[in-house]
């Protein structure tokens, strides 16, 4: 149906900030810096960029264009899918390039995740706010008055059902936390580098909500990342091996703005999106050489693996065992450490890492000879996004 988009565009520039708890710089400064570096990584100047996809909140296209020097922006849009936004934004970037509306598109995200959700005495306050959009209308009226204020509590409304229905044990989810932490030990930019985790650490970590322990939860982080896309044709004249956008999609659970009245409680956005993305790319989930899976919470990763179709519903607890998702295993997962152990950049660090892998520039975490990989996004009350990426041959 949309196969004409497959392989027509490529990621040609990437950059990411450090991952810290309490940044010295403002969110716009972080975003400008990574944007400038991603553009340079592509061998371009800011004036070559005419498409901009900024994050939902914090900083606008107008400010980015004015600060970096982009005199003619022909396309701008913002994706409002929480943590699913950056990966979903790749689809909009690819469409705008393939349709001839923009030539080179900058997608960027940055935030003060350490203090955005709850005040921190050791973080600078900012007037720049996250725009969570109308999804909050349901939460404001029906969840937050009951002390369900965080994502951990909202997602537990279905994660609890998931673990009960499929008899998922903490030791199963631990495999994901442990794999991400092990991979973070190879990444200079990982917040948890130098802080390895054992199964006992995991099992002894404090309960948070529903099935979630502290070490099932990702890191509150200040950070930013950016990527640049252009046509595959033009990409072949650029400094790095092009990373082709082979397939992608977004999906929304129904209804997306309320969890408890969903007819299918365990059907998340990615369940809708993944089959479309793999069909567009003309490949199977089992063709993937690595998996960069949005890991806000370990159990969410398990549901996403099943939504991808790489294992059966309820099958993730077996899939993650025996080193299968570790570097050296068949499906290395979150080779940069993920949101759980590198830092929480709304999954944009997953896009950056996937690109590094497919360029064969991932250093100690390199998946040898990788050609194909998948990135997922997840956000708001279960929205999903996916990108199937491939190394240009």
């Amino acid at each position: 149906m949309t196969t004409e988009l497959s392989g027509k565009t490529a990621i040609v520039g990437i950059a990411e900030s450090d991952y810290v708890r309490g940044a010295d710089r403002t969110v716009p400064e972080l975003v400008f810096d990574v944007s400038m570096r991603a553009i340079a990584d592509a061998g371009l100047k800011p004036s070559d960029i005419n498409g901009v996809i900024p994050p939902p909140g914090f900083v606008s296209t107008e400010e980015i264009a004015a600060n970096l020097g982009m005199p003619e922006v022909t396309y701008s849009v913002t994706v409002h899918m929480g943590g699913a936004s950056p990966t979903a934004a790749l689809q909009s970037a690819a469409m705008s390039i393939a349709a001839g509306i923009a030539d080179c598109v900058l997608v960027t995200f940055g935030w003060n995740g350490y203090s955005a959700i709850r005040p921190r005495p050791d973080a600078k306050a900012t007037r720049r706010k996250l725009d969570l959009g109308p999804v909050l209308e349901t939460a404001r009226n029906f969840y937050i008055p009951y002390g369900l204020r965080s994502a951990a509590e909202w997602y537990s409304l279905y994660l609890q059902r998931y673990v009960d229905l499929y008899d998922v044990q903490p030791t199963d989810a631990a495999e994901i936390a442990l794999a991400c932490r092990a991979h973070a030990q190879l990444n200079d930019k990982a917040l948890m580098r130098g802080r390895p985790m054992t199964l006992d650490d995991y099992l002894e970590s404090a309960p948070i909500a529903g099935p979630l322990r502290k070490l099932d939860c990702c890191l509150e982080t200040d950070c930013a990342a950016a990527v640049v896309l252009t046509s595959a044709e033009r990409a072949r004249d650029m400094p790095h091996t092009p990373v082709l956008y082979l397939g992608g999609a977004e999906g929304h659970p129904y209804p997306a703005d309320e969890i408890t009245n969903r007819p299918e409680l365990l059907r998340l956005g990615l369940d809708f999106a993944a089959p479309r993305a793999f069909a567009m790319a003309g490949v199977k989930p089992t063709d993937m050489d690595f998996l960069q899976i949005y890991d806000c919470f370990t159990y969410v990763v398990m549901m996403e693996l099943e939504a991808l179709g790489i294992c059966e519903r309820g099958g993730a607890k077996d899939f993650v065992k025996d080193g299968n998702i570790r570097l050296g295993g068949r499906y290395p997962l979150n080779t940069h450490g993920g949101l759980l152990s590198q830092g929480h950049c709304w999954g944009f660090n997953h896009v950056v890492e996937a690109t590094r892998q497919l360029r064969h520039e991932a250093g100690a975490a390199q998946v040898e000879g990788c050609e194909l990989g998948v990135v997922t996004g997840y956000g708001d009350l279960g929205d999903g996004s996916i990108a199937v990426l491939g190394r240009d041959r």
């Binding site: 002390g147 509590e153 009245n261």
Partner: protein
């Protein structure tokens, strides 16, 4: 207790406010489609089944069964810190829709999927009602 942070009470508007105003009158009301009779919650402008925009409020006894629950052990909500750990129950009402409320006069050990419970409103302000979930 004096000095404790207050629990969040939302400013309501639109259909949600109508829902709470009805409940604040003493009786829970649910939206029901005039065309196909389907009940719905949270409030919506059109029926998800037949797409009709014609509907009315119908009183509900608030009777239902436990559909699921979540226990919170750590909260970023200062208004709820003193209540930790607290349990939130999703009730499937006899009419069909599910409603979320705070556990009262029950313990987590007693909870079972499908057990009979009732939803009891506590008016916090004329346009907001907090729901408790209790044994029938």
């Amino acid at each position: 207790m004096a000095g404790s942070p207050r629990k969040y009470v939302p400013e309501t508007e639109g259909l949600n406010q109508e829902f709470f105003l009805r409940a604040a009158g003493g009786t829970l009301h649910l939206q029901r489609c005039d065309e196909c009779g389907t009940y719905r919650h949270p409030p919506r402008y059109y029926c998800q089944h037949c797409f009709s925009g014609a509907w009315h409020w119908e009183p509900s006894a608030g009777l239902g069964r436990v559909a699921s629950w979540v226990t919170t052990h750590f909260t970023i909500d200062r208004g709820w810190v003193d209540d930790l750990p607290y349990t939130t129950i999703v009730v499937e009402l006899e009419e069909g829709p599910r409603l979320l409320g705070a556990m009262r006069n029950l313990s987590v050990e007693q909870l079972e999927l499908g057990m009979k419970v009732k939803v009891v409103g506590e008016t916090k302000r004329d346009d907001f009602v907090f729901f408790w979930v209790e044994p029938q």
